[in-house]
Amino acid sequence: MTRLDTLRGPAAPLDHNARTIAALAVNPGCDRRALLDAAGIDKQKTATHLGYPAPFGQSPFAITRAKSFDALVKANGCAHLLRLLRHTLGLSISEASYSDISDVGGNDNHQVRHTRTRALLKRAATDGEGAGTLFDHPLLKLGVAGHQVYLEPAIIAFQIEGRFHVVEIKSFAVIDDQADAGQVAAAARQSAVYVYALRALFASEGLDPDRVSHDVVLVCPKDFANHPTATLLDVRQQLAALDRQLSRLTRIDRILDELPVGITFDIETQSPDEASKAVSTVDARFAPECLASCEMALFCRAEARDSGSTDMLGRTARDELGGVESIPTALGLADGSRSASPEQTEIAEQLRYVRRIYTEAVA
C-alpha cells in the first residue's frame, strides 16, 4: 500500500479523464489539489463530508443537449462530420470509412478496446490511403504520475493524407464565427490531452508522433440552430503547458515528504472535524477562480477567511497589497498599529499613504 493509498483510505481511486488531466493546469500551484488528485480521492465527496459541498454542478438540460448534439453529428455514418471535414480540410469523397471502437465484438473491456485502437490506428498509419478515415471512441492510454491511465475520449480520431486529427464535439454555440472564449479554452485544453495521448501511442508504435496534428477539429452548433459547424483549433500552447504539468507531477513526493506520518484523508472512518484537520495539513493556494473549477473551493475559501488571508480578495488585490499575506497585517501597517518588518517597509509606507488620502477623500 503506497502512501497515496493510505491517504485515500479504503475507497477506490477515481479514474483520471481528459478533464481531470486538463485541470492539472488550472491551478498547478496548489499542493492540496495536486495531492488529492494524485491519490485519486473523490474531491466532491470529501468536500461534502467536510460540510462544504462543491458550489457547482451540471444542469440536466445541458447534459441532454450535449448528448443529442453529439448524436446528431455522428448520425447516419457521421454524415454531418464528413460534410464538415470535406469542407474545412478538403477530405476526398472516397474517404468515408468509419470504425467504432466503443466495443470489440460486444466486449467493452478497456484493455481489449485499447489494443484494438492501437491496431486500427497503426494499420491506418502504415497502410496509407483507404486504410481508415474515422475512428470513433478510440480508447487511449497515458502515463500520469507514474501509472497508466485510460482515457475515454468523447472524440473521433481522423486521418487525412497520413495526418491524424482529433475531432472534438462540443455543444456550445459558435455565433457569427465566435464562441465563448472560456469554453473554447477548456475544449482546447481537453483536446490537447487527446493529442498528447495519441502522439504517445504513435511513438510507442514506432510511428512519427508529429503525424498527429496539433490542429484539432472543433465541431459546434452554428448560431442558434443545431446545424454543426467546424473550426480548426491550434492547441500547440496547451500541449506545451500539459507537457510541463505532466513532467512536474513528480513533486507529489516532495509534498508527501512534508506530511505527518500515518496521516489519512479517509472520509469513511474519520469525522468531518478529523478529516478537515487532516486536509488542512496540506497547503492550498486558494484564489477566487477556484470557485468555478475546484470541488474543494468553498472549504479552502472558508480557511482563507478564517485566517484573514488576502487571497480571499483575489489575485490582483493580493498583488496590489505587495504580497502582504494577511488583511489584519495590511491594515495594521496602514494605520501604524503594526510595525513593519524590514521587507515590509515599502508596502507599509505605501499603505500609510493610501490610508491617508483615502480617509481624506471619503471624509
Partner: protein, 264 residues
C-alpha cells in the same frame, strides 16, 4: 369536477403549511450548523414543493393507443429504407411517411425480444427485426436494426457501409417521394424536411437553404455511392461468406460475440 377542486385546495393548504414549516426548520438547522439535517430537509422541501406543483395541475390524459403494432411500424420504415438503420431514423421515417407514432424508447428492447422469440420458435414469423453484423467480427453492430429477410451482405456493416447506407437511404426516400407525387399524392412537409436535411450532407444534392429536389438528390447520392460501392460490396460479400460458414442460424441473425443481448 367541483369536489376535486375542493379536495385539491385542502391538499394545497396542507402542503403550503408543510413547506413553510420545512423552510423554518432548514433555517434552524442551518443556524445550528447541522449540515446533514439541512440536506435531508431540503430534499424533503423539494419533494413537497413538487407535490404542491402537482396538486395544482390536473392529471395528464393517457396517450392514445397505437394502431399498428410497433414491430410492424418499424418493418414498414425499414422496408422503405432497405438498409440497416438506427432507431432515431426509423422513428423519423415512420412519422414522415406512415403517420407513425413510435418513440425511440419503444425500440430499445425490440431486438432482444425478437431474438427471444426466434430462439423459442425459429422462423415462426414471416420476418424478424434483427441485427446488422460488423464485417470484421460479425458481432451485432451497435444501435442498428435490420430485417431478417434481406440478403445477408446488406446486413453486414463494413467501414464504408455507414456512408453507403446513408446514401442509399437518401436515394430510397427521394424515390418514395417521387412515387407518391407520381401517383398524384404529395409527400408530407416533414418528408421533404427529412430529405432536405439528408441532402445537405451529400455533395451537390441541394442548393443552399432550398428544399431538396428528389431527382437531384438521387443523382447526387448515386454519384457518391458509385465511388464507395465497389469496395463496400467486396467487404460485405467477403464478410457475408464468412458469416454463412461460421455462424449458426441464431447468430447469423443476431450476431456473434459475448454480449449479444446487452449491445442490442
Amino acid at each position: 369536477m367541483g369536489p376535486l377542486i375542493l379536495c385539491g385546495t385542502v391538499e394545497l393548504d396542507a402542503l403550503e403549511k408543510r413547506i413553510a414549516g420545512l423552510r423554518s426548520e432548514i433555517r434552524a438547522a442551518k443556524a445550528a450548523g447541522d449540515h446533514a439535517t439541512v440536506r435531508s430537509l431540503r430534499a424533503e422541501l423539494r419533494k413537497t414543493e413538487r407535490a404542491w406543483d402537482d396538486a395544482l395541475e390536473p392529471e395528464p390524459e393517457p396517450a392514445k393507443a397505437p394502431l399498428l403494432p410497433v414491430r410492424e411500424q418499424v418493418h414498414q420504415a425499414l422496408t422503405l429504407l432497405g438498409v440497416p438503420t438506427a432507431a432515431k431514423m426509423i422513428v423519423t421515417v415512420s412519422e414522415a411517411f406512415f403517420a407513425g407514432h413510435i418513440t425511440t424508447s419503444q425500440l430499445t428492447s425490440l431486438r432482444r425480444d425478437e431474438e427471444k422469440s426466434f430462439r423459442t420458435s425459429p422462423y415462426a414469423r414471416p420476418y424478424y427485426l434483427c441485427a446488422a453484423l460488423t464485417s470484421e467480427l460479425l458481432s451485432p453492430a451497435r444501435g442498428l436494426l435490420a430485417v431478417s429477410t434481406w440478403p445477408l451482405p446488406s446486413r453486414i456493416i463494413g467501414p464504408l457501409s455507414p456512408r453507403a447506407d446513408f446514401l442509399t437511404s437518401a436515394t430510397r426516400i427521394a424515390e418514395h417521394i417521387m412515387r407518391l407525387t407520381g401517383a398524384g399524392e404529395d409527400a408530407s412537409p416533414s418528408a421533404y424536411r427529412l430529405l432536405t436535411r439528408m441532402a445537405q450532407n451529400i455533395p451537390g444534392a441541394v442548393d443552399g437553404f432550398d428544399q431538396a429536389d428528389p431527382a437531384q438528390v438521387i443523382a447526387a447520392a448515386g454519384a457518391e455511392l458509385a465511388v464507395h460501392e465497389e469496395s463496400d460490396a467486396d467487404e460485405r460479400g467477403e464478410a457475408a461468406q464468412r458469416a454463412e460458414q461460421q455462424l449458426n442460424e441464431v447468430t447469423r441473425l443476431f450476431g456473434a460475440g459475448l454480449k449479444t443481448a446487452r449491445t442490442a
